[in-house]
């Protein structure tokens, strides 16, 4: 790597040293043993809820062809513990912290967001309006454009920090939800959370996931997510964080070419604990080979 490269990207006013960050729920302080957190574009902890929550029935994970299904539920120690312990554990690193918020009602979203946004170390909020593991057969706030817009505009009133709406891919038109989030006042869009999925053990005839259905992630879903990033980029001017199935630098670049400004990496870390920084190195190598000095040049650079 010889030439100087500018890896900075901007998400809703937040300048990141590079576009690679962990996906919420697939990252934790324990990974410091394997990974240099200072090299991350941002730190995104597991979604937090207002009160402690136990999470879902077991088994909570199963694997499928080229991916996995999880139904952790938002097992959470509640916002108090989060502010007292989790944030300080991440605060010593250079990467800005983007807190992921989960809630069961609009009011709770506003409430938790207000508290989190007040904390000086939290530099942005990612609203997990797309978790398919909540009650109600996998339904999520982010499946409805009007609710999405309302929810975000209410959170908007309690903070000026960047708000990223994490969209669900389980919708007929992700464009419609993206536009609603933009109108609601979001500063960025995460495309996307997991696909709702299910697997059955044919020997026992029981679901492989305790909660019956769960969220599908990993390389298998990437072509669906790339399509959605591209679709959203056509209708919204907000920066997009691509998320779903990124295993390599080339996968991350593919999402950026489709329209993403940054990329989250989740499941890949389960296979390779240094996936986040390896992917960053692979992007740098690609830029070197292709004589790209500004990473921003990649964003939305698809040729049709």
């Amino acid at each position: 790597m010889t030439s100087r490269k500018n890896m900075q990207v901007i998400i809703g006013g937040l300048t990141l040293n590079n576009p690679i960050m962990p996906a919420s729920g697939a990252f934790g302080p324990e990974m410091e043993q394997a990974l240099d957190f200072n090299r991350l574009g941002a730190i995104v902890p597991k979604s937090i809820t207002k009160f402690p929550q136990p999470g879902n029935a077991k088994p909570r994970v199963c694997e499928t062809n080229g991916g996995m299904i999880n139904s952790i539920g938002i097992q959470s120690k509640g916002i108090e513990y989060f502010l007292a312990h989790t944030i300080p554990a991440f605060d010593k690193f250079q990467a800005p912290i983007i807190a992921s918020v989960s809630a069961e009602s609009l009011e709770e979203f506003v409430d938790v967001s207000a508290t989190l946004a007040n904390h000086k170390s939290i530099r942005g909020l990612e609203l997990n309006i797309s978790c398919p593991n909540l009650k109600g057969d996998g339904k999520a706030f982010g499946m409805d454009a009007a609710i999405t817009r309302e929810l975000i505009s209410q959170v908007r009133t309690v903070t000026t920090k960047p708000i990223i709406a994490k969209l669900t891919p389980n919708v007929t038109s992700i464009q419609e939800i993206a536009v609603a989030a933009e109108k609601g006042g979001a500063d960025g869009l995460n495309v996307a959370n997991t696909m709702l999925a299910m697997a059955i053990d044919v020997d026992t005839r029981r679901p492989l996931i305790g909660n019956v259905m769960g969220g599908f992630s990993g390389p298998a879903v990437k072509p669906i997510i790339v399509r959605m990033i591209y679709q959203v980029a056509q209708v919204s001017s907000l920066p997009i964080i691509g998320c779903g199935g990124v295993m390599s630098g080339r996968d991350a670049i593919e999402m950026m070419i489709a329209g993403a400004s940054a990329v989250q990496v989740g499941t890949a870390s389960f296979i390779n604990p240094t996936a986040l920084t390896d992917i960053l190195a692979e992007i740098e190598e690609y830029m070197e080979q292709n004589e790209i000095t500004e990473i921003e040049e990649l964003i939305g650079s698809i040729i049709i």
Binding site: E30, K46, R60, V61, E63, M68, F270, I271, T274
Partner: protein
Amino acid sequence: MQRHQANVLSNKQVSNRYWHMVVDISELNIDVDPGQFFQVRCADTYFPFLRRPLSVYRINEDTIEFLYLVKGQGTSAMTKIQAGQSLDMMGPVGEGFSLDPSAGNILLVARGVGVATLAAVAQAACRQQVKCYAIMSARSRDDLLAIEFLEDYGAEVFIVTEEEGTSDVENVKRIIKEDICATTVIDAIYTCGSRRLSKLSQSIANELHIPGEIALEEHMGCGMGACFSCVCDIREGDTTKSVRVCTEGPVFPLHKVVME
């Protein structure tokens, strides 16, 4: 929790359903404790996708060994790995067993592949001149492994099998109480591999007021404490607490575990 490429020295079938692998760790600069495990990548494909948790079966100066049951996609793929190839493994992961060097006698209660996890305890006990008694339970004699190793470590081994109709809980209880505890003071119990035998071990430990430890198994996502796939409940005073088997375990105090 580093990822390593370890050289595979051998990978052989040792019985109908079990395989045994030896990998070289001389270059890896790691310390491995009995009860810890590795997250093994069984093949370089996306199916099997996830890593598989495997306990260290024996811990030697330059090598570690795995004893594994061929169960599904992952372990089947693992049998294809040949000596000379490398094994992509992450670890050592988790909290292992604790062994009080002043103990006189300990009891191991293993069922099936649970022996893969407890053998390392026998090995450590032997080094510390602690005497082992071991109940080994399995479907059949063919499924009983490592008996010779355990005996080499000076363990006194009691075999029970379905095949012979000796593996029911009542009989195991009788062996422990009459054949072992009647003549010997057991200072600690270690168990792995069966819910029924774990319950039995728990109640005996409770009754005899001796400490015990259990190695739990749960389906894992990350194996790094990040994903909360592998949780189970343990007792904390009057309440229960959710812990992650991968990092807070897999070994827990026997009396704290809530048997489901």
